[in-house]
Symmetry: C2
Subunit: 319 residues, 2 copies
Amino acid sequence: MRKAILGLDLGGTNIKSVIFDPVLNKIIFQGQIPTQAGSGVARVVDNIVSSIKDNLAAVEKSRRRVTALGIGSAGLVENGIVRNSPNLPGWQGSVPLLKLIRNKMPRGDLPVLIENDVNCLVAAEYAIGAAKGYSEVVGLAIGTGVGGGIIIGGRLVTGAHGGAGELGHMTVKMDGPLCKCGNHGCLEAMIGTDAIIQRFRQHSHSDAAVTVAQISKLAKSKDPAAIKTLSETGKILGTALASIANIFNPQMIVLGGGVIQTGKLLIDPAKQEMLKRAMPYNAKGLKIRTAKLGPAAGAVGAAILAYRYSAKSDNPEIN
Amino acid sequence: MRKAILGLDLGGTNIKSVIFDPVLNKIIFQGQIPTQAGSGVARVVDNIVSSIKDNLAAVEKSRRRVTALGIGSAGLVENGIVRNSPNLPGWQGSVPLLKLIRNKMPRGDLPVLIENDVNCLVAAEYAIGAAKGYSEVVGLAIGTGVGGGIIIGGRLVTGAHGGAGELGHMTVKMDGPLCKCGNHGCLEAMIGTDAIIQRFRQHSHSDAAVTVAQISKLAKSKDPAAIKTLSETGKILGTALASIANIFNPQMIVLGGGVIQTGKLLIDPAKQEMLKRAMPYNAKGLKIRTAKLGPAAGAVGAAILAYRYSAKSDNPEIN
């Protein structure tokens, strides 16, 4: 029977799922159900278990067998415990997610790996996406939050307690605006969606509700305030890219998340600023690429990491 | 015959050397000769070769045999080539150091490893110093320049081309002062000795020549301008420590270099600022320690890295 890996991506809105073939590196099928994050931890856990049940049942009808389960979650993840997951109300403390689902899921023997969602996204881009074939890769996902993932020597860097890769909370302007994390001048506080929208309001002298997608559209139709907003945001991003180049000397930085879909009007100023600021030899040959895998990347990466850990480790729950 | 490793640290003023026992992890003997950096590359190479000759001859009189040579050098080091070494005049371009010494040194078969000097220092603190027993360690050496070294999973991170670990050129204040590297607001431009001296001149309303050691002494005798200078410098250092905590989630950050010898009046404000700014779970349990090994650390680390590479690799010259 062919192996398959189940990957879930636990988002604030949806629980995305993929059944992934780890040998062909292909998605067999994918789906999603609502997270219902507002209904509390117990409901979210029930929904995760439902998704696992439904996916396992679907796979059993095919000629495959699920041999591992990977789950990507926002927050700091260590040993199956999720901490500080800001997009899931009620998850601010420690949620022993692995234990909670283990008690309710079918196939209690299934190896389960839980990892930070941006780490999953970067692992997917590394394994089968934009960074395939490279071993020194840094990924940055820019949306409401700004997250990162670090691959060194082909391995995901998780740190002492699963907290590594929080590149959105690198200080780029020490006297800058207050970040949700409590620090001042974090990259997230400077280029996350809220900061972009506030920047546009200043430049357009308007308090009207607007989204980053709308600002992007305005910029493409030559609105000066929108162009200025994206260019300034790009320069701040470029400052962070230069720091990343100097700190890691990676072969590639992969950019993902909704904000990156604004395209060249943001990314070109970012690249220019990176080249101006980074040490020349670290900038030379550094590839800045956009993520290739789209919305399923997190679930795919969770599946890929679960497969690797289950294949390599006697104790796949320790990540 | 017992093994010994020769380690050299190529500084702007002196070439320090140690004969190191890699089994006992002990310095057997140490020495130094002037670098004569001002006399150009050829003279420096001759001096390195002299040091190698003298040390090999000295070891051969004992019951030991040198089985590898490690050299720590400022600058970006890749495959025996040293680039951008700012403290060695005439070394701004690429100097093929390995090739230059290989042609002149005795025992042409000796495995040679050349590595960035701060990476050597951090490797030494990791192997036998302040960070012994830890696998996730970041080191910061603060002097005229600010350098870094990163250990992840017990391995030194070198990056795509030997340029990783340039933590002194992480931007902490994007609109901050111009750094020697061309970027603005680098950590080095904010807390290197020049910045500290300038800060003291502002606070003391004086243009008199002064050193960081003198400022430190003044601060210990309660001079308000000196205390303010160290406290402000410490806060900027703490901002960088918070970024390092968020990026790497290390077990320990080791602080070395001349500036750190100013002690608590700098380090205490740094720790407080780190705790204020870092994500709580990344800050929790993070040890901030000062380097233990003193001036020989670079040469010792070069020896330790050379020993490891020569023991593990068929091609020890590739670092």
